[in-house]
């Protein structure tokens, strides 16, 4: 555990020094300032009343805050994943560079500890960035509308979870190809192209009428991470709606574990 902790901290330090965290924080600060400006520009006094039905308290201000949070949870999920994939893509190829990997492997560190340290370090970096943005927005809307929606904070672990699934894929690609560009491209392909297309697989199969395509899309649907569906669930949770698709979480979890397991196996066998 000590080695995993040390390597995680080392990865975080790498992210700091490469200005990844600063850039992330800069973008998040810009978004927060934008919301602050928007919130300051209109008066919520007209929405500032409450009524109750069946023991539940309602307020137009609360509803507006909830809708805003649900709405921003979508770009937060997409935007932070986009940036996170970009910024974490170099971690593994950089580790595997000749002269660098030799140093790590010459130490009394097990190979799985090295990889897991890099994995957690990347996740920690993304978690900190997302937490800063989401908690900032939560505080701004809470102060503005007097409404404290704790469900919105679940965007932090859900987005971090989605990133960890894609990061596992980036690690595998990085180990096999040692190319940050390829790792990034493959991850973007799954996230931006495959996942949204597969979410619409039934409509596509219906339009084309091809049973081969239907079977192929179904197969892909079950073996690739359902990030688009995870994004939908994230928006629902932010809006305090119950999760209606646990399959997306389970599918992503299994995908992440299997892909990470394969990465560790290959990394353990590899010559450097």
């Amino acid at each position: 555990m000590k080695n995993i902790y040390l390597i995680s901290m080392f990865t975080l330090r790498e992210a700091f020094s490469r200005k990844i965290i600063i850039t992330f924080a800069g973008i998040s600060t810009f978004v927060l300032l934008l919301f602050l400006a928007v919130f300051l520009s209109f008066d919520t006094g007209v929405l500032d009343f409450k009524f109750s039905t069946n023991g539940m308290v309602y307020s137009p201000g609360y509803t507006l805050a909830e809708k805003i949070q649900a709405l921003v949870s979508i770009p937060i999920f997409g935007g932070t994943l986009l940036l996170s994939i970009f910024s974490a893509s170099g971690f593994i190829p950089h580790l595997l560079e000749k002269g660098n990997i030799d140093l790590f492997l010459s130490k009394p560190v097990k190979r799985y500890e090295l990889l897991t340290g890099k994995f957690f370090g990347g996740i920690l970096m993304v978690f900190l960035n997302i937490a800063y943005l989401v908690i900032g927005l939560w505080l701004l809307s809470g102060i503005k509308f007097g409404y404290w929606n704790f469900s919105f904070l679940l965007t932090i672990p859900i987005t971090t979870f989605a990133f960890s699934v894609l990061y596992a894929l980036m690690i595998l690609t990085g180990i096999i190809t040692q190319s940050s560009l390829l790792a990034m491209m493959l991850t973007y392909l799954i996230y931006f192209v495959l996942s949204p297309v597969l979410a619409l697989r039934e409509q596509i199969a219906f339009i084309t009428g091809s049973s081969f395509l239907e079977n192929f899309l179904n197969m892909m649907f079950y073996i690739t991470p359902r990030i688009t569906e995870l994004a939908d669930q994230n928006a629902r949770i932010a809006e305090k709606l119950p999760v209606d698709n646990w399959e997306a979480f389970i599918n992503c979890g299994i995908f992440g574990v299997v892909v990470y397991g394969i990465s560790v196996y290959i990394f353990n066998k590899k010559d450097f």
Binding site: L105, P108, V109
Partner: protein, 312 residues
């Protein structure tokens, strides 16, 4: 006790996307006793770095066994007692020298409480204390090598692997590093040195081995390698005439070096008497008869050439 034992070690690399195989090491057998400086020599691509990598489990053998510290224990655990300076090592450029030593020291098993004192000690040892707080992107090649050596010594290892440790270091720096290595040896540490600088190996190594195209062509004491020569240099007080030379040449391969000095290659060392008799018969006085010590470089070249002729 042997600190390193290598038995029938073979490493074959399979080229990616091709069936072509490259044999980096072929049936290598080697035993290195504790407490010596061992020099591994060989031309580029001979398999020297691969051998170290296999010993440290950075790469895996295709067949054969390796043993460190005469123990079958888990190699990861054994690495607590080893230090390694890789060739062309890369440290993160954004770190300071001190930060590099702290990070890799902790990974190497250094106690967190003592790490500050250890960093200070090794920086002092390699004469890098004044650069401790400077980011390593500003370091020269020589400074990087010194830092690399300090890094390899962080966990106070019993066995130290150094791959081209003096690469990029000026002659004064090299001599300082040689002194450090001699001191480490006097502390009972074993040093495994990979170097293409033959004179350096000759100066500090107790034992050496020569690898060529993955095969061990020689292994033994450095003194055996350089003194096992049958060339004799005879100096005289007057010029040696061509007629005398022709007479001697009937029996020996003469490498005349000047008018009053000649080097002869003997099949047996006692044969030098014939040459002396010939010179004395012609009233030529002999000042000295000195067996020539072949340099490691000459021996190295000759061994490599012989090995290649055998392969052909």
């Amino acid at each position: 006790m042997n600190i390193i034992e290598i038995k029938n070690l073979t490493k074959v690399y399979q080229k990616r996307y091709s069936k072509k195989k490259i044999t980096a090491l072929n049936n290598v057998n080697l035993e290195i006793p504790k407490g010596i400086i061992f020099g591994l020599l060989g031309p580029n691509g001979a398999g020297k770095t691969t051998l170290i990598k296999i010993l440290l489990e950075i790469a895996y053998p295709t067949s054969g066994q390796t043993k460190l510290f005469d123990s079958e224990e888990n190699r990861t655990e054994m690495k607590k007692f080893t230090g390694y300076l890789p060739e062309n090592h890369k440290y993160p450029a954004y770190l300071t020298g001190e930060a590099v030593l702290r990070i890799f020291g902790q990974l190497g098993g250094c106690d967190y409480k003592n790490i500050k004192a250890r960093v200070s000690y090794v920086l002092d040892l390699v004469d890098m204390k004044k650069w401790a707080d400077t980011k390593i992107k500003k370091y020269s090649k020589g400074m990087m090598q010194r830092l690399g050596l300090a890094q390899a010594l962080m966990n106070d290892p019993k066995l130290i692997f150094l791959d081209e440790p003096t690469d990029g270091i000026d002659p004064i720096g090299r001599s300082e590093i040689r002194e450090i290595l001699k001191n480490l040896k006097s502390e009972g540490k074993t040093i495994f040195l990979n170097s293409h600088l033959l004179s350096e190996v000759e100066m500090i190594s107790d034992r050496a081995a020569i690898l060529n195209k993955g095969e061990l062509v020689w292994d033994g004491a450095v003194s055996d390698l350089t003194e096992n020569s049958k060339i004799v240099r005879i100096s005289t007080d007057q010029n040696i005439s061509d007629s005398v030379l022709q007479e001697i040449q009937k029996k020996y391969d003469i490498k005349k070096c000047s008018q009053n000095c000649l080097s002869i290659a003997l099949s047996e060392i006692k044969d030098v008497n014939y040459a002396i008799d010939e010179l004395r018969k012609n009233n030529i006085n002999i000042i000295s008869v000195i067996p020539e010590k072949q340099s490691l470089e000459e021996m190295f070249i000759s061994l490599i050439k012989n090995a290649e002729t055998e392969i052909k």
